[in-house]
């Protein structure tokens, strides 16, 4: 019995969401009284791999192969399933990231395992039952899901558990599983990644704006505010539908669901579909000139006022705050 965590690398580095997944997996190993092994695929340096020990991984399986330098879920799933067998793992943890969503289900089928994606809490082990709480109905509810299979796969939502240090000695072991040619049928042609912006799905702070901004030309102050906070930018559905902002920024029921520590909604009335995607944010700030906007009902802080007057004040205050 052991826990295996997949650590997704981007350009040879681990992001915060990876350390969060390792922290979560370590907590499960502690509940079980077992040990935690991490599996890294792609070219990651030894120092970066050693970092995983800080969060509780006592062993790291390092699959450094040129063939596997790009993420192809079919091949990566084969490698992770092999690692799970080798480590006799009965719980496999990964981040519920874009890549994780394509990977977890394949790993689950390979291991004849049940999968909970979008987990928000540690599993509860109660009378032989293994249950995990997950988001459901787009943030309007949680579903307690019991995994009845022998092996369990859990995809953890970003910002749900937090990074927790639990330093252990770490050994790094080279792992060279065989990869079938058919597992590499999907070919990665190009990766385009904006490195100067905070990525929305795992952002801790998010500044979002809606139709109240009147037009795409007015997003300068939103980006300035987000920049000062180190926040990601987001938008409502009408805004992305009108092509004022890219679809990748649309949060809500049919966009992406996020749960940052702080969500600032500017000029968004708060339709039920929008609230569904953001209601699990820890702190919500609403700025709207309509005091009747439904968003105020779920807000922690509210300012009834014109965005074009309020946001510049916030920018000035933030500059002063940062000194």
């Amino acid at each position: 019995m052991s826990v295996l965590v997949y650590v997704e690398q981007v350009d040879g580095k681990f992001k915060k969401s990876v350390f969060e997944a390792v922290s979560y997996a370590k907590a499960i190993a502690d509940i079980q009284g077992s040990s935690l092994t991490a599996i890294s695929i792609g070219n990651v340096g030894e120092n970066e791999l050693k970092e995983l020990g800080k969060y509780g991984a006592s062993k790291v399986l390092n699959v450094a192969s040129d063939q596997l330098k790009n993420f192809v879920n079919q091949a990566y799933a084969s490698v992770i399933a092999e690692a799970a067998k080798k480590e006799n793992a009965d719980v496999i943890v990964l981040s519920n990231s874009f890549s994780g969503k394509g990977l977890g289900p394949r790993v689950a089928v390979k291991l004849e395992a049940g999968l909970v994606d979008g987990a928000v809490e540690l599993p509860k082990l109660d009378g032989g039952k293994f249950s995990v709480k997950k988001n459901a109905f787009s943030g309007k509810a949680f579903a307690i899901t019991e995994l009845t299979s022998a092996i369990k796969v859990i995809a953890l939502n970003p910002n749900a558990f937090g990074v927790k240090e639990s330093a252990v000695d770490t050994s790094i072991e080279t792992f060279t599983p065989e990869v079938k040619a058919t597992d590499l049928a999907a070919i990665v042609k190009e990766i385009v990644r904006a490195t100067d912006k905070v990525s929305l799905p795992d952002a801790e702070l998010v500044v979002s704006a809606g139709r109240g901004l009147k037009g795409p030309e007015n997003w300068g102050m939103i980006e300035e505010l987000a920049g000062l906070l180190g926040a990601a930018t987001a938008c409502s559905k009408p805004v992305s539908d009108a092509d004022w902002r890219p679809h990748s920024e649309h949060v809500g029921q049919t966009g992406i669901a996020i749960s940052p520590n702080l969500y600032i909604a500017i000029g968004i009335s708060g339709a039920i579909q929008h609230l569904a995607g953001v209601s699990s944010s820890k702190v919500i700030v609403v700025i709207n000139k309509d005091p009747e906007a439904p968003f105020f009902k779920v807000a922690d802080y509210g300012i009834v006022g014109d965005a074009f007057e309020v946001v510049p004040q916030l920018i000035e205050a933030l500059k002063a705050h940062k000194g």
């Binding site: 879920n73 079919q74 990231s97 874009f98 890549s99 969503k101 394509g102 990977l103 977890g104 289900p105 394949r106 689950a108 089928v109 395992a113 994606d117 979008g118 988001n135 459901a136 109905f137 509810a141 949680f142 579903a143 307690i144 899901t145 019991e146 009845t148 299979s149 058919t182 049928a185 999907a186 070919i187 990665v188 042609k189 990766i191 385009v192 990644r193 912006k197 990525s199 929305l200 799905p201 906070l229 679809h247 029921q253 049919t254 702080l262 039920i272 569904a276 700030v285 609403v286 700025i287 009902k297 922690d300 802080y301 509210g302 300012i303 014109d306 309020v310 004040q313 205050a317 002063a320």
Partner: protein, 245 residues
């Protein structure tokens, strides 16, 4: 060309979510069910790719006869025919297995799904179908072009996109951007009634998971209003009181 599109029967996006039987069951009373919005995007792209006699679109749903109206809606949008695997979907593993087993009996070029279902917010079925069939699966795609043999796909990644090329059969789960969901017209609605809907019995497979209880989020406390003229105070409150910046 033949495209299979998986559709899920979900509560309308404006539904007030409540539960019955000591919070163990979703309360379907008075709830309007719809085609999962992301599946509509997948369906719309499939119809576009098959336009001009280039192919046919089959929608596939795992559900009991109560989902037939939702299947008819998909036919009204423009699918050519439909298959319903006759079983209440137990979990994603079960659903994906049924779809894969059906796919094995038919010749198809691609299987499209939505990025997730808006009820259980699972993003599992597409990749599981890919694994059951041992073919590539690309999750959360934003663009799909197909030249008859090779698909060029853009998928979402944190902070950007990745372009993937696949030759041969594949599965993809579609997000916004892949297509604009088509609204059925009167002709579509009329013709949907007479389009074929085949019912296939489900195959047995072990259950991997089950929802045992639902919870609703704790209500938030009352909003703290800050006068617009002293908006700057918000920054201090976020720092000292909420401790998020």
């Amino acid at each position: 060309m033949k495209i299979l599109v998986c559709i899920s029967n979900v509560p309308d996006t404006t539904t007030k979510i409540t539960f019955t039987n000591d919070n163990t069951q979703f309360n379907t009373s008075g709830v309007q069910f719809i085609v999962n919005p992301y599946d509509e995007i997948a369906l719309s792209r499939a119809i576009e790719l098959c336009e001009g006699g280039k192919g046919t679109v089959t929608v596939i749903n795992v559900g009991e006869s109560t989902t037939d109206p939702t299947i008819r809606k998909a036919l009204a949008i423009g699918a050519d025919d439909a298959v319903r695997i006759n079983a209440a979907p137990r979990d994603a593993y079960f659903t994906a297995y049924q779809i894969a087993e059906y796919a094995k009996t038919t010749d198809f070029d691609m299987i499209l799904c939505g990025r997730e279902s808006i009820d259980y917010n699972g993003s599992q079925v597409a990749a599981m179908v890919g694994e059951f069939l041992d073919i590539p699966s690309i999750s959360i795609i934003k663009k799909l072009d197909y030249d008859g043999t090779t698909a060029t796909i853009e998928r979402e990644i944190e902070g950007g996109k990745e372009v993937v090329s696949v030759t041969g059969k594949f599965v993809a789960s579609c997000a916004e951007g892949t297509a604009v969901a088509t609204i059925p017209n009167m002709r579509g609605i009329m013709s949907a009634r007479s389009k074929p809907l085949q019912v296939v019995e489900a195959k047995e497979i072990a259950q991997m998971s089950q929802v045992t209880k639902f919870e609703t989020p704790a209500p938030r406390g009352a909003v703290k209003l800050i006068p617009a003229e002293s908006a700057a105070e918000l920054i201090g409150l976020l720092h000292t009181e909420a401790k998020v910046i």
